[in-house]
């Protein structure tokens, strides 16, 4: 018997009903957004005009499917580039941070630790504008005083990457540090003791141990980067990632079910990715 659970059957059913309602609440907008991707209509709205896959595959006007829509594909490509770059950087920096805070003792550690968490609690918009302002100040300063033009400090992919990196690093650091904390330092000492060099210990013992955390940190960072809007909005240049492209499309052109198609595609994609990360984690727990 699980004492934590309600004991009376009625309450148990009420509780289960609540859970079910909650899951429906979670699924409803996703379902709605996904459903109209298959509606054979120009508008993502009722009435239902029948099932079609045109919004994915059609290449003819007016129903250009998402796989033939150059701008959406470009946005997707930009998102992928940004996501991979940001995740790789954030995982690398997060690993450094994890080692720094788990393994090293230094004065002011607590303050630095809080500083590390702070980006998580700064609203994304503010991260975006502060970076925009700061980069512009530098770029303008350089231009006015030295006549140097550092265009990468202007809105564009580079700034988007920096902006997302600035808060994703906190997340990856926390994920990796949590795993590193569970690492028994005796494993490293054992490897040393068996004759391994520092680098070898890192490569054969510590990093393999951290691997599941590195992987899930990467996935989390990638997905968050992929869906990020607030920070990116302020920093985006001519190479807009997918969310911004979709937003522009929705607000400035008008939505067609192709946006639903993209949403559906993203849901399936990120669902699969999340699933993969869980599987990796689970497999790790078993060993």
């Amino acid at each position: 018997m699980n004492v934590a659970a309600p004991q009376s059957p009625l309450l148990r059913w009420v509780y289960r009903g609540y859970m079910l309602a909650f899951l429906i609440y979670l699924a409803a907008p996703l379902f709605a957004a996904g459903m109209f991707a298959f509606n054979d209509s120009m508008f993502p709205a009722l009435p239902w005009n029948g099932f079609t896959l045109d919004w994915f595959f059609s290449s003819t006007e007016p129903k250009i499917g998402m796989f033939h829509d150059r701008r959406l594909l470009r946005g997707l490509q930009n998102s992928l580039i940004i996501g991979v770059a940001v995740s790789a950087m954030a995982v690398a920096a997060g690993t450094c941070n994890a080692f720094l805070f788990e393994r090293k003792q230094f004065p002011g550690k607590n303050i630095f630790y809080i500083l590390m968490i702070v980006p998580l609690v700064i609203p994304g918009v503010i991260l975006g504008i502060s970076l925009l302002v700061f980069a512009s100040m530098i770029a303008n300063g350089l231009e006015e005083t030295f006549g140097i033009e550092w265009d990468f400090l202007r809105p564009g992919i580079f700034l988007v990457i920096l902006g997302q990196f600035s808060f994703l690093t906190t997340i990856t650091s926390l994920v990796i540090a949590a795993r590193l904390r569970k690492f028994d330092i005796a494993l490293e000492e054992a490897a040393f003791n068996l004759g391994a060099s520092r680098l070898r210990v890192l490569m054969t013992v510590t990093l393999p141990y951290l691997m599941p955390a590195l992987f899930s940190a990467f996935v989390v960072a990638f997905l968050v980067s992929f869906e990020n809007f607030n920070t990116t909005l302020m920093l985006v240049g001519s190479d807009a990632p997918l969310t911004i492209t979709m937003y522009d499309r929705m607000v400035k052109v008008g939505s067609t079910p192709v946006l639903n198609a993209v949403s559906f595609f993203l849901m399936v994609g990120s669902g699969a990715l999340a699933l993969l990360s869980v599987v990796v984690q689970r497999k790790d727990e078993q060993t």
């Binding site: 494993l187 391994a196 054969t204 141990y209």
Partner: protein, 357 residues
């Protein structure tokens, strides 16, 4: 010939001295234990030998060569960690091969040696198993095999049985001793459990507060402790405070604080008439009934039945609690709670140590 020699080894952490000028030699092929309570500096000492801590002063020699400047991954000592530290991301074979690979041996040799050592620890053919598939005792053996495959001069073991459960621990004690015989390697074994140290070792060093109190064979420690700490820590003992009345011929007459007098062997030479002392008497040398050389009167407080190691708790008249060993074989107790009894023992079985205040 000594495999391991430590010479006035010390380690200070800031103002705190964890290991204080410890010297000892471990002869080749012997089983040497360091026994001491928690926090006395055992692990620190071992980590210095393995090279994970730098000694504040003193020297460590392995086969006569100082290893102070040798980095930990080059020292010819291998270590079995308290929680074994088997690599969870490798299977058994890879775990054991790890050290060989680091040395850069060739594949065929590695495979052969791994198979060999697995055979020797009684787990042949388990190369492909995962660490998590083994029982506690098997993991223990793999941890030892992982070190032994490298043929170290000295194997260090830091409370390797600490994590096992009671019954398994009993079995592994015997098994460890057998493994050491088989490999004929020098074992340096750390524990805070006196029964482990006594059971397996050729020699035991009793450590307290960073210092060695006594080094000797298990029998020596048990039967001829040199300090009060050793007498109290190794084996069960009754321990009564008192005052020396007179000293003669290595025998001391003691007036116990709780009342009563006894004659005992002097444990150290700082005892003089009038000095504060403690008297140690093991429960198993006490007998119930009149007629022994030393006697204390008391009332039986309770009977603690535990088969062969049962105890009678007697409250002496002066208030001291006396534990009397009593192997109950037949279910009949000779005494009952509340009964007045005489507890006796011979002079030679009591030991007396001065107490420095």
């Amino acid at each position: 010939m000594h495999d391991l020699q430590c010479e006035s080894l010390s380690k200070r952490f800031g103002a705190y001295t964890a290991v204080n000028s410890v010297s000892f030699n471990v002869p080749r092929g012997s089983f040497f234990s360091i026994l001491g309570p928690s926090g006395c500096g055992k692990t620190t000492l071992m980590r210095m030998i393995a090279g994970f801590e730098e000694p504040t002063s003193g020297d460590i020699r392995i086969k006569g060569q100082s290893v102070l400047s040798t980095p930990p991954n080059k020292r010819p000592v291998k270590m079995v960690f308290q929680h074994l530290a088997l690599f969870p991301m490798m299977n058994i074979g890879e775990n054991i091969a790890y050290g060989l690979r680091c040395r850069g041996e060739n594949k065929a040799d590695i495979t052969r040696k791994v198979a060999q050592v697995l055979d020797r620890v009684g787990l042949p053919g388990t190369e492909q198993k995962q660490v998590s598939q083994l029982s506690g005792g098997q993991k223990q053996r793999i941890a030892i095999a992982r070190c032994m495959v490298l043929e170290p001069d000295v194997l260090l073991l830091d409370e390797p049985l600490g994590a096992l459960d009671l019954k398994l621990r009993e079995r592994m004690k015997i098994e460890l001793k057998q493994l050491q015989h088989q490999f004929e390697t020098t074992f340096l074994y750390i524990t805070h459990d006196q029964s482990e140290a006594l059971l397996m070792s050729d020699n035991v060093a009793v450590m307290n507060a960073g210092q060695f109190e006594q080094i000797g064979s298990p029998q020596e420690l048990y039967n001829d402790p040199k300090t009060g700490f050793v007498a109290g820590f190794v084996g069960d003992s009754n321990r009564w405070p008192g005052r020396a009345l007179s000293v003669a011929d290595g025998k001391v007459r003691v007036a116990l604080d709780g009342g009563g007098e006894a004659i005992a062997t002097a444990g150290d030479d700082r005892i003089a008439a009038g000095s504060t002392v403690e008297l140690f008497v093991r429960p198993e040398v006490l007998s119930v009934g009149p007629g022994a050389e030393n006697r204390l009167e008391g009332t039986v407080e309770s009977l603690l039945f535990n088969g062969a190691s049962s105890r009678i708790l007697v409250r002496a008249q002066g208030g001291n609690l006396i534990e009397v060993g009593q192997a109950v074989m037949d279910g009949t107790n000779r005494v009952q709670p509340g009964a007045r009894v005489d507890i006796g023992w011979s002079h030679g079985h009591g030991r007396c140590f001065s107490v420095s205040r």
